[in-house]
């Protein structure tokens, strides 16, 4: 443990943090805590070392096949040294749910994350991102075109707030209390990061952390043959640029200035000078000149977004970073700009605990991704990138992550080290295909080629594990786990169309749950990837199903019918439907969907159904480059767990990892956890 990590903030940092707070509050980002918990300075004995590596989406079948073929020697060594098991995943096997199971050592009834998307029953079915729901601000002071929030007495306006969606107690709180240092990098389901009471916990948030626009990552794409008007797609913005004497003016769109009564996006103008003969372009932005050849990526570029304030009040600033990729110079200039990440050297929001933890990382590492989802999957799905370009960008993410791992190791002395890899998940979504059936967008040979790419990726992770084993194998307990496995996604099922066509959702011509549903006659609806809700009286704003016999009968009827759904070739579409009143235990269970749809391998909720849209057909081919998934039934996509100590549990689950880690430090499994140590039979 380096004491630098735990130093108190100096005056410079205090002032910087104070200034950033106002701007961050304005856009609803969680602000940095100015005072960090002070860790006790009493000399402590070195704690045991436990190293946990999270490899998102690592699949047992492929792992076993590759281990048998001698292609994953280090995983195989780990298996022989200690143990290897399939790891039971969460219901449903979605990453935010699964990693929350890992963090709490208990299921969704404890942490309250049931799906990527939740709904607010008070607004009938208003959807929101489950991991970090946002509370709007309350009260403001009118000043010409602006509304200013004055958070002090006598005004006491309440600024908008991003909440931590995960409830319950994370396992690191118990380590924190016991004086055990935990350093956690890129952990999903922990944005905004939970506070460390005793100053022994250090964390950099992962999946779920937004970009500076408060989205999950919105790229900007400029092309001389781009769409007019600008096209706003979920996760991307595509616009047309016009050249005059080989120079085009463009605008990089930033976060909204929510100090305005009518919030408008900020923007930074920039120039693109093209040189067709040299196949290059020069980008000029805020005094920086970036020369790119065709096919070249820039380094990270800092961009400052100014939030204009009323006269006499200094403007606020938010710091972002992005990378430019010159895709083509002629005949059409095509320029991709990555999502604008929160600048780790001057974070506009709290993305680590303590807030200076990420700044310390950037002192050593420079600029790096801070957004939770870093792979440019939206650019691939929107056909801005081809497969090669996506693979190249995803490899850059992996290389950057490996540098962070190096940093993490150099700054680790004892206690827990957790490090997370996203590559195996976000590359598999696009490149996994393990059968000879028709691929959604690729020829059979192309599908095979890119599945080989996934195998190559597994080998790279194997090398990482080898280095960790060499470095810590003699002195640390090493655990490698994945949150779920993977499956082809060839067919999609529209739950809402099925509900409508079977009379549960009205009217018979309904076009979408959020559009034209007749709630006075609708008994059930789907929202999110695996969630089905009853329109329950007393819970949903316009609920009609009585929470007694009617509810019970309806649940049984839906389960029977849904499990009987067959595809045109006779295949079972839904492997199992789970009643959450049976599957979930804990105080959050009452907020859960009523049923979780567990799809059979090969199937998933349709793209449309996730936000309640209704398509003509119930079952459709998946036609997206996003051709593999894991949002299936819990039994269909187990994860893996490897350890350099013998695993005694026969059928371990994600919820068992937290008790295992605590037990390594002699801490009893707390009552908040339902899992058991892997090392107990």
């Amino acid at each position: 443990m380096t004491h630098e990590d735990n130093k108190n903030l100096n005056r410079r940092e205090f002032l910087k943090a104070s200034a950033a707070t106002t701007a961050a509050l304005s856009i609803g980002l969680p602000t940095k805590k100015i005072y960090a918990a002070r860790r006790t300075t009493v000399r402590r004995n070195q704690a045991k070392k436990v190293v946990v590596i999270g490899v998102d989406g690592m699949d047992p079948a492929l792992s076993e096949q590759m281990m048998s073929a001698g292609q994953l020697p280090n995983f195989d060594k780990l298996r022989r040294l200690g143990g290897y098991r399939h790891l039971r995943t969460s219901i449903p096997p979605q990453s935010p749910v699964a990693w929350a199971n890992f963090i709490n050592g208990a299921g969704p009834g404890s942490h309250g994350i049931f799906d990527f998307i939740h709904r607010d029953p008070k607004r009938q079915c208003f959807p929101f991102y489950s991991g970090a729901p946002q509370l709007p601000g309350e009260g403001y002071w009118n000043l010409s075109n602006h509304k200013l929030q004055l958070t002090f007495w006598p005004f006491n306006h309440k600024p908008p707030k991003t909440l931590q969606g995960r409830k319950g107690v994370p396992f690191w709180d118990y380590l924190d209390e016991a004086g055990i240092i935990s350093k956690v990098y890129y952990i999903p389901s922990n944005y905004p990061p939970t506070p460390s009471k005793y100053g022994n916990h250090f964390c950099f948030s992962g999946m779920g952390t937004p970009d500076l626009l408060q989205t999950h990552g919105t790229y900007q794409y400029y092309s001389s043959d781009g769409p007019i008007p600008t096209k706003e797609l979920g996760g991307g913005r595509q616009s047309c640029i016009f050249f005059e004497d080989n120079t085009a003016k463009a605008e990089l769109i930033g976060p909204h200035n929510t100090f305005l009564k009518r919030p408008k996006p900020t923007s930074v103008p920039f120039l693109i000078h093209r040189d067709n003969r040299a196949n290059a372009a020069l980008i000029e932005i805020q005094g920086q000149k970036i020369l790119l050849k065709q096919g070249q990526w820039s380094d990270w570029v800092k961009v400052d977004f100014r939030l204009v304030m009323p006269a006499l009040i200094p403007d606020e600033h938010l710091a972002g970073i992005c990378r430019f990729y010159l895709q083509e110079t002629s005949p059409n200039l095509q320029l991709y700009v990555s999502p604008i990440n929160i600048d780790p050297t001057d974070p506009a929001a709290q993305i680590s605990e303590p807030s200076y933890f990420v700044e310390k990382m950037s002192d050593k590492l420079g600029l790096f991704h801070t957004t939770g989802f870093q792979e440019a999957y939206k650019a691939r799905v929107h056909d801005v990138f081809n497969d090669e370009e996506y693979a190249e960008q995803a490899e850059m993410v992996l290389q950057e992550r490996l540098k962070s791992l190096q940093y993490a190791q150099e700054n680790y002395q004892d206690g827990l080290l957790f490090f997370y890899f996203s590559s195996t998940d976000l590359q598999a979504h696009l490149f996994w295909w393990d059968s000879n059936e028709k691929h959604p967008v690729r020829s059979t040979s192309e599908a095979r080629k890119y599945f080989t790419h996934i195998k190559e990726l597994y080998r790279k992770i194997d090398d990482v594990i080898g280095r960790i084993l060499n470095r810590y194998g003699q002195e640390a307990t090493i655990i490698v786990l994945s949150d779920h496995g993977f499956a082809n996604f060839g067919r999609q099922f529209n739950l809402n169309t099925w509900l409508r066509d079977n009379g549960y959702l009205q009217p018979a011509y309904a076009g979408g749950v959020l559009k034209d549903t007749d709630w006075s006659a609708t008994r059930a609806y789907g929202l999110g990837i695996n969630s089905l809700y009853l329109n329950l009286k007393g819970r949903e704003r316009d609920g009609i199903v009585k929470p007694s016999d009617e509810r019970e009968q309806l649940l049984r009827e839906l389960i029977n019918k849904l499990e009987s759904v067959r595809d045109t070739n006779g295949k079972q579409v839904i492997h199992k439907v789970h009643r959450t009143d049976n599957a979930y235990l804990g105080p959050q269970a009452r907020f859960a969907p009523d049923l979780i749809i567990g799809y059979a391998r090969g199937y998933r909720a349709s793209w449309a159904t996730c936000l309640g849209d209704i398509t003509e057909k119930i079952l459709l081919d998946n036609d997206s480059a996003w051709s593999a998934d894991h949002c299936a039934d819990v039994s269909q996509v187990p994860g893996v767990v490897f350890c350099n100590r013998p695993i005694k549990a026969d059928a371990p689950a994600l919820i068992d990892l937290a008790p295992t880690i605590l037990a390594e430090y002699g801490l009893k499994t707390p009552s908040s956890m339902t899992g058991k140590s892997l090392f107990i039979t």
């Binding site: 990527f116 998307i117 991102y129 999957y377 976000l426 959020l514």
Partner: protein
């Protein structure tokens, strides 16, 4: 668009209101309650009171619709949703 107030129209000496007006039918009991509430709250008349209430409610509903679309667009940014 600012609401047309009957008094303003009369002051202008016009027979026709400045803006085209529509008629609404409401339950007479509700009308009486609204009239009393308008008086208690200091509104010049029931017309002003009803107009204010409708505008307030509409502003909220219109914002909600915009919010819904904004949230849906953000959620589409997840890889799992298109």
């Amino acid at each position: 668009m600012p609401a047309c107030r009957a008094s303003t129209c009369r002051q202008a000496g016009r027979k026709e209101p400045l803006y085209k007006m529509a008629k609404l039918k409401i339950d007479s009991h509700l009308y009486d309650r609204a009239k009393k509430a308008a008086q208690a709250a200091g509104y010049p008349g029931i017309n002003e009171f009803v107009t204010h209430i409708i505008e307030k409610e509409l502003a909220q509903l219109e914002t909600t619709e915009q919010d819904d679309e904004k949230v849906a667009q953000q959620l589409r940014g997840l890889g799992y949703i298109e």
